[in-house]
Symmetry: C2
């Protein structure tokens, strides 16, 4: 792996946020030496009996053993508690039959140490693909992880799951239901191999809400669609993408029932946590120097809006132009054109921030290259494209494509 010593220039100024304690969850992390040395690389979260677990996962046809294992366990009996374990350094993906064996050894060890049914042990692995996971390095540390479990251990957990990330990522929200507070806290990792149309990377969200598994799953799936499924760093999709949301039910607020105003309020809070985490992943995009919001409006259909936003957000030529602080709207036109979605050159309008650059099939008569060039110096670039054909819209988030990306990825493994 290329050593990246410096933190992303887009990292939050205040560092890792103060996340609230979520009743019913404890966290632990330590150094197991899976691959890295001198840093933590495993985390464990224990969830109290009754905790329900929902999740969304990569749709890759070559997804990892841990992903396959989690997917089948989501809705299992929640009465006896649950645990989430994550290691970084090795993704245990494309490791043949030994992959599933490693997952079995780890879940077995956690199950026996914590006294929780194996069916309720959810694991994730992130890091290099195709190398055997040395599971003994992990199973020998489970008792030590158990001994370290603390209600306020989430910051350590956020750090232990990092790979090429340059900063740990966390977000939280609160919502009041029946006069009582429900708290939500989440952590994420991700920097490269990030593309929409899946869950994304590793994300763990904890809440003390009382909520049925099926209701939580529905809200998580819907929120994924406008958050993690709307980000891209490099158009490449991981084999390990996992988002797990766990609700302990420890709040004194009443249960959240499907289709109620309370469910809507909870959804809004959940979505805000997921949106913030997804943005943090983009802001730590490999080599990123600009955070880019692509707003597509006026498309003929939701599918077309997403196609166009994705085509722009994934275009190497658009992303290198933004890296060069060049308001090169011609490349945006190119990306709209190649998307396969319905578009009419003469109805397009393109804005960088509030600067109208193109309309009616050409550069705007009032376009000021100076104003546009000055806007491009911002860290946060909003690229607005109106297709002029309908009412559908989609917003995606990406970063620029820089020398840093090449440096990180041209010798990641060697």
């Amino acid at each position: 792996m290329a050593k990246i010593e410096s933190v992303s220039p887009l990292a939050p100024v205040g560092g890792f946020p103060d996340l609230p304690i979520i009743d019913g969850v404890t966290f632990s992390s330590l150094e197991a030496g899976v691959r890295y040395t001198g840093r933590t690389d495993v985390m464990l979260a224990e969830l109290c009996p009754g905790s329900v677990v929902a999740g969304t996962f990569t749709t890759s046809s070559t997804r990892s053993a841990a992903v396959l294992d989690c997917q089948k366990k989501l809705g299992s009996d929640a009465s006896g508690g649950a645990a989430i374990f994550v290691n970084s350094g090795n993704s245990n993906a494309f490791t043949g039959k030994s992959g599933l064996e490693a997952v079995g050894k780890i879940t077995e060890a956690i199950s026996s140490s914590l006294g929780i049914n194996e069916n309720r042990i959810f694991t994730s692995s992130t890091g290099v693909i195709g190398e055997p996971l040395k599971w003994e390095r992990i199973t020998t540390k489970i008792d030590a992880l158990k001994a370290g479990l603390q209600p306020d251990g989430i910051t350590g957990a956020a750090k232990a799951i990092m790979t090429t990330d340059t900063f740990a990522k966390g977000a939280s929200a609160e919502v009041t239901v029946g006069g009582e507070k429900i708290k939500i806290a989440g952590i994420a990792k991700g920097s490269g191999m990030i593309a929409p149309d899946m869950a994304t990377m590793l994300v763990y969200i904890f809440t003390d809400a009382k909520i049925a598994q099926s209701v939580l799953q529905d809200l998580v799936s819907r929120a994924t669609n406008t958050t993690f499924n709307c980000i891209t760093v490099d158009s490449d999709t991981s084999t390990s993408d996992t988002l797990i949301a766990a609700a302990t039910g420890c709040t004194s607020a009443p249960e959240i029932l499907a289709g109620t105003p309370e469910a809507n309020n909870f959804f809004t809070a959940l979505q805000s946590v997921m949106l913030e985490l997804s943005h943090l992943v983009v802001k730590d995009g490999e080599g990123a120097t600009k955070f880019v919001e692509v707003q597509v409006t006026g498309a003929s259909s939701d599918a077309d809006a997403r196609k166009i936003a994705s085509s722009i957000a994934n275009s190497p030529l658009v992303k290198t132009a933004i890296a060069g602080e060049d308001p090169n709207w011609g490349r945006v036109v190119m990306a709209v054109g190649k998307s396969g979605a319905a578009a009419d050159r003469d109805l397009l309008s393109i804005r960088f921030g509030d600067v109208l650059v193109a309309e009616n099939g050409w550069v705007s008569p009032n376009y000021s290259e100076e104003a546009a060039a000055s806007y491009m110096k911002n860290d946060h670039i909003i690229l607005r494209v109106d297709i002029g054909l309908g009412a559908s819209q989609c917003t995606m988030w990406t970063c620029d494509l820089t020398h840093g990306y090449i440096t990180i990825n041209a010798d990641y493994r060697s």
Copy 2:
């Protein structure tokens, strides 16, 4: 535009090839100062009466005025001769109504100077998008271009159409029909904004074959599918992609009729010229240091084979690994997985050249990292992926992704 002083390390050792004279065609090129200074930037080819013209074009919904104009003229009456004009420096794309006006002014001037119907004047423009084409700089040079027309001017023409290209591209072939030779000579430009599923870039092919327009069009469309539609530099699709093939009928060989063995022989020769030109475009890919052939076999369908090959050939993580001479087959697994095509992890096999790296869902027991790392030092990398599900296959060609690409594109326009 970033100045790239050095020629691509993948450029042909012998320089521009000796292309045969094609009876019935003359070429001219000169400096018109459209955008560049100190180099030629316009070319004209005049075709004798009876010449038929076929072509394939970008499918972009924002394609340029010249592309739209060429598309409607292809099958028009060939009795009165034809001409092909190309300028570099400005693509005349997304230039609103003024785009079509510029095409009109240029074709009108050529028509009047050469005495050829406007319907038979095919033009292309390549370069920056969205700036008005200063057509007067071109129309004032038409008589000088006419005066310079020469049967052996094709090398000059190949140079005049270059933009970020670091070398001029040409290829030729011969085929014997009825004991008489038919000659084919082609030129191309292209370096960035190159992606499959369209014609690609600018390509002009000339032959003295006697052939009906509909037969030539059919052969050109078929050959495009396995040549220019199988290359990618950066997954971005130009708004100006144009391939024009002109047959003068000046050979003494008999006419090529559809469905005959002669048509097959001619097709093979035509395809070889198109394949060579398409490879030269990849070898001049922006920043390229490796020429990469992605061979996918064993897919469930032709569409799936193409999806997988395209997913691998466009993956920034695969391409940066190749730049770093890293046999990172895990990233190949990732690209297969995200393609959306049917794949079974445990049936995949992956080879770098002849080095078997992965099979049966894991690294091969005989895999030698040393042998693979040594293979990656080659200029020409063959990446072979067998899906193990069916009999469909697809080969695509691409290049690596390097710092050179970022340097060229992060300030192309500023």
